[in-house]
């Protein structure tokens, strides 16, 4: 479907489109070599220092502190009446939010055939799985008797007592588990050709490792066809799962009888919020990968950041819409307690948090991301991305412990002061980074076959004197 636009009328749109297509193709073998090189590169001392520091943080802040929490009780955390929920649930929502970007990038953009997605689908999908691990940990930390967590799992026990299917937490558990399983599958399917490639290019234990993972993939026509079918089915199937999971997370709040929480718009609002933090995190991760791993400058380019930046801008705008919609509808509702709570958000002791949230979530993205040059710069976009993540964490903090401080019994109102949650939250962040670091040494970060597929589909064709880009339909 070559465009037949006159030369002088090359639209801006066309230019932009071209940019994402990586029209400087390299041979498959060369790209494979580059990806393998990036993976097998001997870690520098810096890598090890960071790795050891993170391992220490994970061991101390996550596991040791968790041991303390389990043996001494939730009193170690900052929770109390009325703030029965604290940072653990903030982190849970936050990490689930982060995990949304992966699916969004690889599934939705795949379905919509956004070509710029190709090099970084893997990196984004890893974010889904690793983020969900942190979310799972956070929710387990939150439970008073976490060793009995399996009681929430729907299995027919001795008395055929199922979990309470009225409870949003049960829906939550089902949604998160489904999401974790399906996103892991969805991470794994496109990985198969790449591990097969890695299997063929490595020796020793790695070869065995990849042989197991590759499931005997040889790249025959039939195998590819099956793989494509499976990926398409999953891409379509995982989208409703992704939308449902954060909607259900939002129901934990929206279904409760609390001022400020019982809001009908929470479902889409939470999803947009999740995408907001997720895209921000994706930009940061991409920038780090591009900056630290060998050969990545070829695969991850300014134009990719540009595309992500545009997405971030539009998501920031939708988030702003949903946030103020929620705010104004609640305010207009006129409920006494809700009004006090909304006022408390901005004028209470954590008012700075409310204003920071608005600045980093709305003002800064809007001010920066409109400029293509700025948003193509990995440094700038990762600063914006970090800001958005901080802002979105603040947003969840305001929704959970700050909103919970205000209820219908003013005699009990009290401000939450975090305790052991802080180191444990840092521990989950460290584990998230650590998992990425380990994955970078074990898994090909760039889906070479997908990149090449794009490159094959798009090439320069000469029509007379004119060179145009052809984009062929793949399916």
């Amino acid at each position: 479907m070559a465009d037949k636009k006159p030369h002088d009328e090359h639209s801006h749109e066309e230019e932009m489109r071209k940019k994402h297509l990586m029209l400087d193709p390299l041979p498959r073998g060369k790209m494979n070599e580059m990806v393998m090189e990036a993976m097998l590169e001997k870690p520098t001392w810096k890598f090890w220092v960071v790795f050891l520091v993170l391992s220490f943080i994970v061991a101390y802040c996550l596991f040791y502190k968790w041991y303390v929490l389990i043996t001494k009780g939730q009193g170690e955390a900052g929770v109390m009446r009325p703030d029965y929920w604290g940072i653990f649930l903030v982190n849970t929502v936050f990490w689930i939010g982060i995990s949304h970007a992966g699916t969004f990038i690889s599934a939705i953009l795949r379905v919509f055939k956004a070509e710029f997605r190709r090099p970084f689908t893997r990196i984004a999908e890893l974010m889904t799985t690793f983020g969900l691990v942190q979310a799972g940990f956070s929710v387990l930390m939150h439970m008073g008797r976490t060793w009995l967590f399996y009681w929430l799992i729907p299995y027919p026990n001795q008395r055929m007592l199922w979990p309470n299917l009225h409870s949003p937490l049960t829906w939550d558990l089902l949604a998160i588990t489904t999401y974790l399983l399906s996103s892991t599958m969805y991470l794994f399917l496109p990985l198969i050709p790449d591990v097969a490639m890695a299997r063929d290019r490595s020796t020793g234990w790695r070869k065995k490792f990849y042989r197991v993972l590759a499931l005997g993939f040889r790249g025959t026509e039939g195998e590819w066809r099956h793989l494509h079918n499976a990926m398409n089915i999953f891409a379509f199937a995982i989208i409703p799962v992704m939308f449902s999971v954060h909607t259900i997370v939002s129901w934990d709040f929206a279904a409760a009888t609390r001022p400020g929480w019982s809001s009908t718009i929470y479902g889409p609002y939470f999803i947009v919020g999740a995408l907001h933090s997720g895209m921000g995190a994706a930009a940061v991760v991409l920038a780090v990968v591009q900056g630290t791993m060998k050969n990545m400058k070829y695969f991850v380019r300014g134009e990719h950041f540009d595309a992500i930046g545009k997405l971030m801008l539009i998501i920031s705008m939708s988030w702003a819409y949903f946030y103020f919609n929620d705010y104004i509808v609640q305010w207009y509702g006129g409920d006494k307690w809700t009004r006090i709570m909304l006022h408390f958000h901005e004028a209470g002791p954590l008012g700075w948090m409310w204003f920071t949230m608005l600045i980093v979530n709305i003002a800064i993205p809007w001010a920066v991301l409109w400029n293509a040059k700025w948003r193509s710069n990995p440094w700038i976009i990762s600063v914006v991305g970090i800001g958005i993540n901080v802002g979105m964490w603040f947003e969840r903090y305001l929704i959970v412990p700050v909103s919970v401080a205000i209820n219908r019994m003013p005699f009990t109102w009290r401000l939450y002061q975090p305790g052991i949650e802080v180191p444990m939250g840092i521990g989950t962040l460290a584990l998230f980074i650590l998992l990425y670091m380990m994955a970078s040494k074990l898994i090909p970060f760039i889906p070479v076959w997908e990149v090449q597929e794009g490159q094959l589909a798009h090439e320069f064709k000469k029509f007379g004197r004119e060179t145009v880009v052809s984009v062929s339909e793949l399916e």
């Binding site: 939730q74 009193g75 109390m80 967590f149 949003p168 279904a255 409760a256 009888t257 219908r408 005699f411």
Partner: protein
């Protein structure tokens, strides 16, 4: 508000056991709080935790201020405990069925065995009357000699709350049954009502019109807290007698 008698009420709305609290005579003396703690093996938590909203009181006495000095007035003391709602908001949100509605007694139960400590129930309780075992609070020996054998001693990580002294309900019913009769009004009462020096708290069967508590409940002057939420609470408050 209390509905007229001709309106047919569901069993959840009528309830079985009910309580009335006369705020006009409540002096805030804390006898009910102490009696509750002694009857129900409630832990004390110490200065730091109690100051941080972690006290385990199953009943607390609220009071506010009205006006400015010198025309300042303390609002009538308001003992708050589990309202044993007919439609309790705590019940549907527990994923583990740890807080369930007793069909037999029309009470909100907290089944400690099932509790995994998500604290959703407490979060969702509009009355904020649930107490969580934030730690394993210690009772140095020999304080444990005082523990009531009819009530379990809770451990770290479970939620607890006022039970309307269900152990006393069971004992009275058991005694009555062994004597082949019904439980009589006033035969037993909750620890708080038994201690209350001003008789501000009255407890009994609200579903039997001849009982004292039913008569007070239905005199039309009482209010139920946050009744607009549709929780159908079974504690009725009287601000001015």
């Amino acid at each position: 508000m209390i509905r007229p008698d001709e309106v047919k009420m569901s069993v959840e709305e009528t309830g079985k056991w009910g309580m009335t609290i006369n705020q006009d005579v409540c002096t805030g003396c804390q006898a009910c709080v102490a009696a509750c703690a002694m009857e129900n093996n409630i832990s004390f938590v110490g200065e730091e935790d109690s100051g941080y909203g972690r006290s385990m009181h199953w009943i607390r006495i609220e009071r506010f201020w009205e006006g400015e000095y010198p025309d300042v007035r303390m609002t009538p003391q308001q003992p708050m405990m589990c309202q044993q709602c007919g439609h309790a908001t705590c019940e549907p949100v527990c994923p583990a069925f740890a807080t369930v509605h007793s069909q037999a007694e029309q009470l909100n139960l907290q089944v400690y065995n099932r509790c995994v400590g998500t604290r959703y129930c407490a979060n969702n309780c509009p009355y904020q009357v649930r107490a969580f075992n934030w730690r394993d609070y210690q009772r140095p020996e020999p304080l444990s000699n005082q523990l009531n054998p009819d009530v379990t001693v809770r451990r770290m990580g479970v939620m607890e709350k006022c039970t309307f002294c269900i152990q006393r309900i069971h004992r009275a019913q058991d005694t009555a049954k062994s004597e082949g009769r019904e439980v009589m009004d006033g035969e037993f009462t909750t620890a708080c009502a038994q201690a209350c020096p001003a008789d501000a708290i009255v407890f009994g069967r609200v579903d039997k019109p001849e009982t004292l508590v039913a008569q007070i409940t239905n005199n039309g002057r009482g209010t139920k807290h946050l009744a607009e939420l549709g929780t159908l609470p079974h504690v009725t408050y009287f601000k001015e007698g």
